[in-house]
Amino acid sequence: MLVTLADAANPWLSWTYVQNNWEELVAAGKEHIFLTVGAVVLAIALAIPLAMLVRKVPRLSGPVLGLSGILYTIPSLALISLLWPVFGLSPWTVIIALAVYGLLVVLRNIVVGLDEVPSEVLDAANGMGLTTRQIATRVSIPLAMPTILAGIRIATVSTVGMVTIGALVGYGGFGTLILSGFQNNFWHAQIFTATLCCVLLAVVFEILLLLVERLTVPWTRKQAG
């Protein structure tokens, strides 16, 4: 479909482009994966203690979730720009900015997942003589796991897309190629290939994380079917 839009001099799809720029594409892909994984891992690492705090002090739950709803509306362009004077032209500027968005989704899903554990189940576990710690590790967390993993998956896929904005500070993975292709006289092949690679990467992450969900919480599959 898009081929019809192409003129001979500046095609959207070009195998020659891929061949001639293979190393550049691989390097951009590696950077894209590094930035995505870095942001998501940092987001999870920050979300866990915050979720524990919210569970300990339930009064915080409303304000924390409300604040996260407002924070997520801030465009990544703004957040990256605000962090750039602090961290400069480094991958950290992008990783920390994107970790904030991931953090909001993961934290929200941990809290919602744990809240959705039926109180009857907790009563039953209590009645069976399980300690608080055992209830958490054997009952609450496994039951909340599908929601938590779904949060991590959603955060990862949206991070893949937002990494491209990192091109602003020179660390945008495929985004850097998209932007330089655009600035380089609308180089269609580079813009389109890099965008396509970005979508493919998101799909690969989605499939990998769906697989992790199936392996770690196999009971949800029966539920869904």
Binding site: G69, A78, S81, I178, F182, F192
Partner: protein, 234 residues
């Protein structure tokens, strides 16, 4: 020059590059994008939701939207000679990303209306259009409003990226700031784009509450919260 001085400088509040003009440009781009998105998404979602068809499309279109980078779509549209750099590319790109939340929420809202309620309406002699207009849509208003709000806030925030393809708007300050290596301009632009997005969110949360029928307010809140797990894609 510091950021506070920049905001206090009257020169930054007037003229073509002034804050009011740039803010209005961003709002204009956002409104145009939302108008296109609504004209496309609402009829499709209302038809599919009323007929209870196309569940797969309605519930999965959001996943597709998440996987596609906004920057890619923006630059692709701006590099098509017939569209070119400027506001049109931005409006079209933003409209594309606004369609999924409106479509999904409207569909879910309509499909969630009880069959018993529809049967009762039919028993009262209402036709398909009557059921849609007088039963299904009013009951689905909370979710439809939530979808439009999510989409609008996302569009207002994402509109700051439009500057990367030569459009106006508040993102201009950030992009020009990076080009000129002017830290003050970058920070000021970042503060303005963030502030506009947050104001849009707070304002629309109020509007959403206002348009929701009184009887549905408390009852539907829990339901809406679940539908509306915020995911940033901008």
């Amino acid at each position: 020059m510091g950021v506070i001085e920049w905001f206090l400088d009257p020169a930054n509040w007037t003229g073509e590059n002034g804050i009011p003009v740039r803010t209005w440009q961003q709002i204009e781009i956002s409104l145009a994008a939302m108008a296109i998105a609504l004209v496309i998404a609402l009829p499709v979602a209302l038809t599919l939701g009323h007929l209870r068809k196309g569940v797969f499309l309605a519930t999965n279109i959001g996943n597709v939207g998440r996987a596609v980078p906004t920057l890619g779509v923006l630059t692709i549209l701006a590099s098509i000679p017939e569209i070119g750099i400027g506001n049109l590319a931005a409006i079209l790109a933003l409209a594309l990303f606004a369609i999924p939340p409106v479509l999904t929420n409207t569909y879910t809202g309509l499909a969630g209306v009880d069959d018993e309620v529809r049967d009762a309406a039919r028993g009262m002699g209402m036709g398909g259009m009557g059921i849609l207009a007088r039963v299904e849509v009013p009951l689905a208003v909370p979710l439809i409003a939530a979808g439009i709000r999510t989409a609008t806030v996302q569009v207002v925030a994402t509109a700051s990226l439009a500057a990367l393809v030569g459009s106006g708007g508040l993102g201009r300050y950030v992009v020009d700031g990076f080009a000129l290596q002017d830290n003050t301009l970058i920070i000021a632009g970042a503060i303005l784009t963030a502030a506009l997005a947050v104001v849009a969110e707070l304002l629309l949360a109020g509007v959403q509450r206002w348009v929701t029928p009184k009887g549905l307010r408390e009852q539907s809140r829990a339901e809406i919260e679940v539908q509306e797990i915020p995911v940033a894609t901008h």
